[in-house]
């Protein structure tokens, strides 16, 4: 049942090296259900707490230099009184074909064994090209070396590097947590990871359980199942970056049935 008129994308997909991530141990990915997401921002703060994101101050916000690996974008539709507000959490999509990876001259960003798009801070020289190449604009640059007012620095997470001025940073899917769980699994005579055992800070905190994290290589994982939901889509899919984050679009019931 070959479809003769298949899209270029489809053709490309099948000529592409099969199982992009098979060479890696996992293909970590996330499913974000916009019908559950309320835009409350718990994930944003959770991320800030977990990953040593600096307190940049109002001036930096004004300059457009906030540091939020995970931001919530809001879009208005319609006019009063039928106005609608929609939220979409935007974080690094850990693309299979990440544009940022090809441009970095020093390999500071690349795909690691977990199939993550990793940023190696201490290798970064700060050309900022990755941020330009990223269509999701989820890469954030350290315009200065941030300091914490005493004794706030005591909260800093020892498992995450504190970045200095001049380096790029972004969502890592909380790689330190993935490591920790893998480490544990290894101690327990190398058992395989359980689905849902690894949870990035945002996923863990989400009060509405809108975020699901897991391994797309494992067909039984929650994310693999949700991926086939008919609401599933990927943001800016036509750019062919093949992101690892699947969004489930929000349900818009026909209002006629209800008053």
């Amino acid at each position: 049942m070959e479809n003769p008129h298949k899209s270029l994308k489809a053709k490309w997909e099948e000529n592409r090296r099969p199982g992009y991530y098979q060479e890696y141990e996992n293909h970590w990915g996330m499913v974000i259900d916009l019908d559950r997401c309320t835009g409350c921002g718990a994930c944003v703060t959770a991320c800030q707490a977990e990953n040593n994101l600096p307190i940049v101050g109002e001036e930096n916000f004004r300059e457009g230099r906030e540091m939020k690996w995970l931001r919530i974008e809001r879009y208005w539709e319609g006019e009063y009184p039928d106005v609608k507000l929609r939220f979409i959490p935007m974080l690094c999509q850990h693309c299979d074909q990440a544009p940022c990876e090809t441009v970095c001259p020093v390999y500071a960003t690349y795909h690691n064994q977990d199939g993550l798009n990793i940023q190696t801070y201490n290798r970064c020289i700060g050309t900022r090209s990755c941020a330009v190449y990223c269509p999701y604009e989820v890469r954030y640059f350290n315009w200065e070396t941030h300091v914490w007012d005493e004794p706030l620095e005591q909260q800093l997470n020892p498992d995450v590097t504190v970045r200095e001025k001049g380096v790029m940073e972004k969502c890592t899917f909380c790689v330190q947590r993935i490591r920790k769980v893998k480490d544990r699994a290894r101690d327990e005579d190398n058992r395989p990871l359980l689905d849902g055992e690894v949870q990035p800070a945002c996923v863990q905190s989400c009060p509405t359980e809108a975020l699901t994290f897991g391994d797309f290589n494992d067909p039984e994982s929650a994310v693999s199942k949700k991926k086939h939901n008919d609401r599933a889509y990927k943001v800016l899919e036509d750019l062919n970056t093949s992101p690892s984050i699947v969004y489930l679009s929000r349900v818009e019931p026909e209002d006629e049935s209800h008053g």
Binding site: N60, E63, G64, R65, E66, R71, E73, R74, Y75, M90, P99, T102, V103, C104, P105, V106, Y107, R123, C124, I125, G126, T127, R128, S129, A131, V132, Y133, P135, Y136, E137, Y140, F141, N142, W143, E144, T145, K165, G166, V167, M168, L236, L239
Partner: protein, 466 residues
């Protein structure tokens, strides 16, 4: 020297152009006068020179290095860049200076292998311009990156970490291309100057003599040496041309290989190359005008015909440039994609619209004046047009960066960029660097090729013999 002149003259047939060149003036300078004039430009230094040099040096220090060190201290927050506009003025200037560097060497090389002798009076300083604008551009890479103290990581060299740069990265190609081009241009200009170093060596004394002795590398002007020189020179001329083209194509890929609306353009490579040669040629015109003014008797070598020829070239380039611009806008509009449309809207009618239209006026319309020979021969007009063109080109580089990045795919992440004081200062100061280098150049290198000019002159008559 005279014989030397003949020997190379023998290799390059130029009688025709010689006629055109000499037709300009009733009494062409004799060989002796050439030597005197050029050597004078080196040894005789009036207070005016010192003043200008002083000013440029101070300007370079205050406007470039002081702000830069400040930026190194506090980080790039000193610039106006932000999220999502992470590239700004620095990169724009980088491209501009790379552009300026074109046509110096490129033009000289092309004209050399096409035996167009009118190049001979101007090519030396043109090549110098290439060299120095490349250096300035390189400085901007340093200013641009976040951690310049690790910038060497972008070059492939064996290290204990066992790491290599990313050979897929256009920025990586950049580093390669620019260093190669810089080296090649350096060798090219140096090689071409050896006989002149020798000439100056023989006419100066004191430390200059020592200095030029070193640079002349014991040039004795034997037939064999001339032979080697002319062959090597021609080889390099051929070698440099594809290099020059590649350099700016690669620079353009830094942009074109991204998927940012407004940067993701297949036409960018030819666009940048053409733009580069365009601004470069304009740069040469400005430069010639200055040299002609600065040094006594140079108006005997830099002739209106040179301006005329360059004027024609400029006209052609401006037409190509305009054409490519139209293509770019059309493809953007024809794609109908929201991203492209919003970008174009912002570029042509947004905050930076005045700059955009200024660019169009300066680079697309103004040069059309060059269609008239009168204007091409009117040096002042040429000066102003050439300056206008380079202003236009500088704005073009800026607009490419500053109007594309703020209008990317996710509307919620749209932003805005305006350069900070530091950025303005450094931009200003960078011209200081360029000028300083050039001012030093005219005192250490014959800024007009003595021997090649001689080729364009009539054989010395007995009475002119010295």
């Amino acid at each position: 020297m005279a014989e030397a002149g003949k020997s190379l003259a023998y290799h390059a047939r130029h009688e025709k152009s010689w006629v055109t060149a000499t037709a300009e003036q009733d009494n062409p300078p004799t060989f002796a006068e050439v030597n005197e004039d050029v050597v004078r430009s080196i040894v005789e230094t009036g207070p005016g020179y010192w003043w200008i040099l002083g000013v440029t040096v101070v300007l370079t220090f205050l406007c470039f290095f002081v702000p830069w060190f400040y930026q190194l201290e506090v980080g790039l927050q000193a610039s106006g860049m932000n999220h999502p506009v992470v590239w700004g003025t620095y990169l724009a200037n980088f491209i501009f200076f790379i552009g300026l560097s074109h046509s110096g060497t490129l033009l000289s090389a092309v004209l050399h292998i096409t035996n167009s002798s009118w190049r001979k009076a101007i090519y030396r300083s043109a090549e110098a311009m290439t060299l120095f604008s490349l250096m300035t551009a390189a400085m901007f890479v340093m200013v641009h990156v976040g951690r310049v103290w690790f910038v060497h990581w972008s070059t492939p060299y064996p290290n204990q970490m066992g790491l290599w740069p990313n050979f897929r990265s256009p920025l990586m190609f950049d580093v390669m291309a620019i260093t190669t081009y810089l080296t090649a241009s350096w060798v090219f200009i140096y090689m071409g100057s050896i006989p002149d170093f020798a000439a100056v060596r023989d006419r100066t004394s004191g430390w200059r003599k020592k200095f030029f002795t070193i640079w002349a590398m014991g040039w004795r002007g034997t037939h064999r040496e001339w032979h080697h020189l002319s062959q090597a020179y021609t080889f390099f001329a051929v070698f440099v041309i594809p290099l020059a083209v590649s350099v700016h194509s690669i620079v353009s890929w830094d942009f074109a290989m991204s998927i940012v609306p407004g940067l993701h353009q297949t036409i960018f490579a030819p666009y940048f190359v053409c733009g580069a040669i365009y601004s470069g040629t304009a740069g040469i015109v400005t430069l010639m005008w200055v040299l002609r003014r600065a040094f006594k008797n140079f108006d005997r070598y830099i002739l209106p015909i040179h301006f005329d020829n360059l004027g024609k070239l400029l006209l052609v380039l401006s037409l190509i440039w305009t054409y490519i611009n139209i293509c770019e806008i059309f493809t953007g509009w024809y794609s109908g994609s929201s991203g492209e449309m919003e970008m174009l809207k912002f570029r042509m009618f947004g905050f930076y619209a005045p700059l955009y239209w200024e660019m169009i006026a300066f680079c697309a319309f103004l040069p059309l004046l060059l269609i008239s020979k009168k204007i091409r021969r009117n040096l002042t007009a040429m000066l102003w047009i050439s300056i206008a063109i380079n202003i236009g080109m500088l704005t073009e580089r800026f607009i490419i960066v500053a109007t594309s990045l703020p209008r990317q795919y996710l509307p919620d992440a749209w932003g805005f960029y305006f350069p900070s004081t530091v950025e303005f200062l450094i931009t200003f100061g960078s011209f200081g660097i360029f000028l300083t280098l050039f001012l030093l150049f005219v005192k250490f290198v014959p800024s007009i090729s003595i021997y090649e000019v001689k080729e364009t002159l009539p054989e010395p008559r007995p009475k002119g013999e010295n």
